[in-house]
């Protein structure tokens, strides 16, 4: 560190710090301009998925903010719920549930239910099923998952809440009977839970 052509240690550090200063200044500016938009986008993205769950339902609260964790007692009980409200009155419920009966492991689902107990939509949020077979439960991969819309307990009757491959009323994904059954079962369980416990759920508070 003593030759004339090599800078002293403090000089190197200073140069480094100076460039760090410059670079971070630029980033601070970029952040200043992009931050509001990013946050808006982030919120919108979170809402968008939940909004998919409630087609045709009017609500005026933030679904993402309305989440309440539930404590499953039995296997198949939902582990959380989003509550939609319209003008202060409950408009719909979106249950989050996990079933362990998938082919490759746990399948996580959202099940939307309207006040009449009818399913508004079902979406898979996470799963480990075989690509090409079980993964057709994803909305983006096939329309299979939409067949639950409008169904409710009793329609079809409880005995027929299973894939047609197993003698039920629902379509089966070919080559993935197990997956189909797991999802069908899980949806039925949510409806049963909804019927039994909806009254116990806390109401949507103001400002949520």
């Amino acid at each position: 560190m003593n030759g004339t052509d090599r800078p002293a240690a403090w000089q190197s550090i200073a140069a480094l710090a100076a460039s760090a200063l410059l670079v971070s200044s630029v980033l601070v500016v970029v952040d200043h301009f992009s931050r509001p938009r990013i946050e808006a986008e982030r919120r919108a993205a979170a809402e968008a998925l939940l909004a998919q769950m409630l087609p045709g339902i009017d609500y005026d609260n933030s679904l993402a903010a309305s989440f309440t964790a539930l404590h499953p007692v039995h296997a198949g009980d939902p582990n959380g719920v989003y509550r939609a409200s319209h003008k202060g009155r409950p408009a719909a419920w979106v249950y989050a549930v996990t079933t362990g009966q998938g082919y490759g492991g746990a399948i996580e689902l959202l099940v939307g239910v309207d006040p009449a107990g009818r399913i508004t939509a079902v979406r898979v949020t996470d799963h480990r099923e075989t690509p090409g077979l079980g993964d057709r439960i994803e909305a983006g991969k096939s329309t299979w998952i939409t067949q639950f819309e409008g169904r409710r307990l009793g329609d079809p009757p409880a005995a027929a809440w299973r894939p047609n491959r197993l003698g039920g009323a629902f379509e089966t994904i070919s080559g993935a009977t197990i997956t189909s059954k797991a999802v069908t079962d899980a949806v039925r369980r949510v409806l049963e839970y909804d019927t039994a416990h909806r009254g116990d759920l806390p109401a949507v508070e103001k400002g949520q």
């Binding site: 480094l16 460039s19 760090a20 601070v28």
Partner: protein, 169 residues
Amino acid sequence: MFAGIVVVTLLALGAGAGVLWLRRYLADGTEKLVAAIDNLLPQIQCAQCGHPGCRAYAEALARGATTIDRCPPGGERTQLALAELLGDAPGGAPLPSPARTHLARIDEAACIGCALCLPACPVDAIVGASGFLHTVIAAECTACELCLELCPVDCIALVPRPEHPVSTA
């Protein structure tokens, strides 16, 4: 808002200072590396690498002051071994060594016994004394060629080593 600038700058300062501090306070283990490199060199001591002897070349390599392709006697073999040790890519191929195949021979009829070649041989392979005939010890000559240019009567030449030395008397 300025927190970002401060944090990054401080971090850069801290990291830079820390590394420099470490560098200053910790010794390094170059010695062993030099020994390892030296061990791979052909020990012909011909100085064709531009350093006075193999050890000096090893030191230069350990410092990173030169490249691994400077030793012609070592040839491709040495270069690959050095590349392996030092993690460099083998570069241009140096000239292959004549060492295995050749040795210096003094034409005894022409030698005038000037002894000029004596000090040039890095491995003391030339025996003789001023005014007497000189010879090269075949077993020791590394064919480095250092002696060739020094002979005033051009009596030293590199010749192929006899392949099957027949040891009949």
